[in-house]
Symmetry: D2
Subunit: 343 residues, 4 copies
């Protein structure tokens, strides 16, 4: 079985690994599609992010879908041949956060392809993967594996939208139009937002989010004053999804959000400067959002029913053998939105 | 009638002004006590804060109490001789925020002693003040005017506590133990917090908040590691009231808050740096709080009934004639907590 | 100008009235379409409902749309010829509920076609109507007046959905599939519900809500046990919109709602019996919803953009001259869903 | 070891049982005090309530406190001799509600002295009890065992208050002034309510809640119109704790609650009639509350620190040998509030 292993920045290798056998309650999945996420890219480009650094070789990947290939003992709801999206999140189910309904905050989380703990949790960019039955969510036959592999980032965005409370009838700003921003546009529309405005510093993703249903998509590099009118009378956006992770993005959000608005911080920045006095004066709510839990099932249901159409996001699909080229492409925002690998 | 007028940084004068006559629905108040607030101090020390700068002479003050001296036509609920706390907040009642139940965000607010608009809104540090009937909240005879003058900052803190949702049973951190921090300790206790920990960089206010009921009061200048144990397992505070307005205070708050906790930003900082990745990873909620509305009545009721005892905060009371000395004293945190003027 | 006037139960007359002239800030609307609502029907069939009884002749109607015919002085945003939906809600803007952001609870509300106060507030089933500029919401030319006249009941349902908090990803039950139930199906889907199940006791409306997107639509008269499986393990619905106003409907809702679920009571019942011990044991939330406010604009935007397609609901459109037949038809649920009048 | 066993209505026996030995992670408690709860009384008087009926002999009791007598293997935080309040709630920690942060809704709950499941869960009115370490919450030496035994019902009331959101500054009505109503008065005060009004149909408990801090305590049997003034302008209470479980109590609550108010249903009624149209028109929130979880620790902390003084509630303490007399006394509301047994 081949797997995509990161050893160091720009040192990505396709290596052979021994396939696993499913134990009781487990299933073996023949992975068919895997999407490259921003965190995969960080490992590839920089060897990690913030305090999270590669300390040993690690299989990358956590946005995957495939077919059930074999069943472990006692598996009840899956059958060989089922098409499934794989939920990469594995909370412990016993810590205080798991028992408080916050499993995404689990103190003993094992999330695929993450260097947060040592030894690292190996990822899912591999031809075959053994996982727990509950991680494999069946999708209907008509769906492509590429669509199914987008359940994971869509779940991130549905969780983000949920952090905003309700966006029904809301005027929404999406700050940063990469894959997560683009899926936030779709998720906000799905949740009944009245108006969705998106920003970016690059034209190509803006053109795409316009196709996805953004009412306005503005390039703040070309036109830094594009949102100035939205700041009048203390601001007009009811909710902002800040996906750039930059201080500039968050500062703009703070300027155009109306008093009492919620700014959901989706993008993972480092240390950023913010105009705290405006947060205070307008009583803004800046709220972090991190991964997801039950929203994985929501994402699968919405993609399966056609309520959310993620297909326009998949700009490129490359074979496993071209993994390095795929990662290079995923790093070029003027060329690609979501790059997927076909296994 | 004498009034305390700020002309420029450190240029505070006692001047004579013509007393006003109450119009229909108005009352004339003989001011008896006035507390010096942080914003008064900013005008005195720096001529303003952020973008808010003195552009003309302005009577300072918005924490005042006194006696009803004369009634305008049609006043129904007040009588000459009533002891009252004066609510300095005057929203317009017509703008979209007033009609949305957010009067403290009024687009045409006239808050006493504020240079936010031009001409400035003159303040309440004067021997006699004409205000609307609804601004004057009767307090019982036994209460001192000094206590009544603390309704205003207590209202700020009750509004702050309300922004946190419910703190019943909560572990609360109060970051910064000046007058607003100290009143947050009282307000959080009043709202049923299980544990209240306070911080500061100066010993004197910490000693006072301990008397007010803080379970722990730590000096982070002397012992920067005092809260390190509170960061274990992703943090243990359910709610934080950040009253210092400093990046250091907010960063500490972010470190010790448990996943999903609310950090209410009370202190007005400028541009501050924050570890955004931790806000995201722990899904923290950073929420601004600004002034108050109906909480003024809550504060008056709580002080009047004895449910909240604000007396320990009043460290100094100086006569009007010593206004300059009072402002100097209010600026020395090692000497004073709340300095009030007697008119 | 002709108007539809109710005098007593089953005594509906088409009468001539003098047209009004728009004053400052007002506009005159040539009404084109008007939908018959359940409350109109109650006046027609029973002379009122509960304590609200006809005490003088009253023009019925509050779901209307038309064209701007004339402008009063100072009107800024409307033009003669504009197609508009008319918001029948006129809160006072001064009472404590208006100033608390609850204008639909206004103590001095003047809602078209309502006998709640004396003299009654005359309604909008008339050829020409004078209203305030802010009540007339422009809709795009392509929209039919019938669609525009559905803004009002859709606003009721969007407000109802909002009362549930967020229904993103939720399993939703709609109890009662009349026009309000049917619009709740659309509104819940619009807000991102994952699954929508509808009930009724009559087949025709169930067939229609299936077309509107309900995943299941069950006739509880024919199959009283149809939801028994949904009661397993304490129930599976996250939110219920109870539109029947009946004790039986609410009791079923209480049975199938999961612990902590929200049951939004939309239908106005009288005195009904409920299993209080189950509300307690499952910690259910039963929440009333009444009319709407800003949701009128949301409804207009959603209908205008095509995000919500209300056309299938309009089963019948009759000319003004056939008003009596229209009211009879509206009372027959096996024949009609929404009956509209063309003026 | 002696235990209090209910066999059938009015058939309460003191029987000898074999003491248990603590297993790993368990402790043995020498029970010292036990309070008689409404549900104990229902078993005694009627053999159960609603669908919950005695089907085999059952030891009663779940409000108990005592001393640690012996430690099982691996117990870390308790010592022999510690005074403890015993949490009678034992959720499974594995079902979907436990993992959703709703452990009080556990599908496999084992709550002491409950006939909900078969075999029944035996109760805690016994001289010695073996429980899990986490169930035993240490209280300080100065506290009486009677006070400690009130942690359980106080936890019920703190959970109820929490269901209301925040009651800081609120006007609160407590409907029904038995032990749970009386503790709701204390809990609402503790959480910062501005005004607390209590009702009952009997004078004795009203006199007691007045001592506990109710601002008004009215006998609705003697003066049925006592709250009529509170219904003006759509009602004035922000939150109601309905502890009577009666339709009359809930109907009164609905009448005096302001639009948008929360009525927390604490009392377990059967099938009751409610004016649904008023719930709808005022958009009231009727919310069930059931037992507690982490609030047990809050209750222990509040009693231990003196923040809540429960002592006035304990009207009678009888020895184990007089259990029958204690139950008779507990059933006479004109004589007793909380009756406790001394073991």
């Amino acid at each position: 079985m081949q797997a995509i292993v990161i050893h160091a920045p720009r040192d990505l290798r396709i290596e052979d690994r021994t396939p696993e056998t499913p134990g009781p309650g487990q299933v073996k999945i023949r992975i068919r599609a895997g999407g490259i996420c921003g965190s995969d890219l960080h490992y590839y480009q920089h060897g990690g992010f913030g305090a999270v650094r590669l300390r040993e070789p690690m299989i990358l990947g956590h946005e995957v879908a495939g077919e059930v290939e074999a069943l472990g003992e006692g598996v009840q709801h899956l059958h060989v041949g089922d098409a499934v999206a794989v939920n990469p999140s594995r909370p412990c189910g016993r810590c205080r956060f798991c028992l408080a309904g916050q499993p995404n905050q689990c103190l003993d989380m094992r999330f695929y392809g993450s260097a947060m703990r040592m030894p690292h949790v190996q990822g899912a960019f591999r031809e075959s993967l053994v996982c727990n039955e509950a991680q494999a969510v069946v999708v209907p036959p008509g769906l492509s594996f590429g669509q199914a592999a987008l359940c994971e980032p869509l779940a991130v965005c549905l969780h983000a939208v949920r952090q905003a409370g309700s966006v029904l009838g809301a005027r929404v700003l999406v700050s940063g139009s990469g894959p997560i921003g683009a899926l936030c546009v779709l998720a906000a529309r799905h949740a009944g937002a009245r108006e969705v405005v998106a920003t970016d510093l690059v034209d190509a993703p803006l053109a795409l989010v316009r196709r996805l249903g953004a009412d306005r998509a503005v390039n703040l590099r070309d036109d830094p004053a594009a949102l100035d009118g939205d700041m009048a009378d203390k601001g007009r956006f009811d909710a902002v999804f800040e996906c750039s992770g930059s201080g500039a993005g968050l500062t703009t959000a703070i300027g155009v959000a109306r008093p009492g608005a919620v700014i959901v911080q989706v993008g993972v920045g480092g240390e950023v400067g913010i105009p705290l006095s405006t947060v205070v004066a307008k009583e803004l709510v800046v709220k972090g959002t991190f991964r997801f839990h039950e929203e994985f099932g929501w994402a699968a249901a919405a993609i399966a029913s056609g309520a959310i159409d993620v297909r326009p996001l998949i700009t490129d699909t490359l074979p496993l053998a071209e993994a390095v080229r795929a990662f290079e492409l995923a790093g070029d925002r003027s060329q690609s939105m979501k790059v997927q690998l076909a296994f």
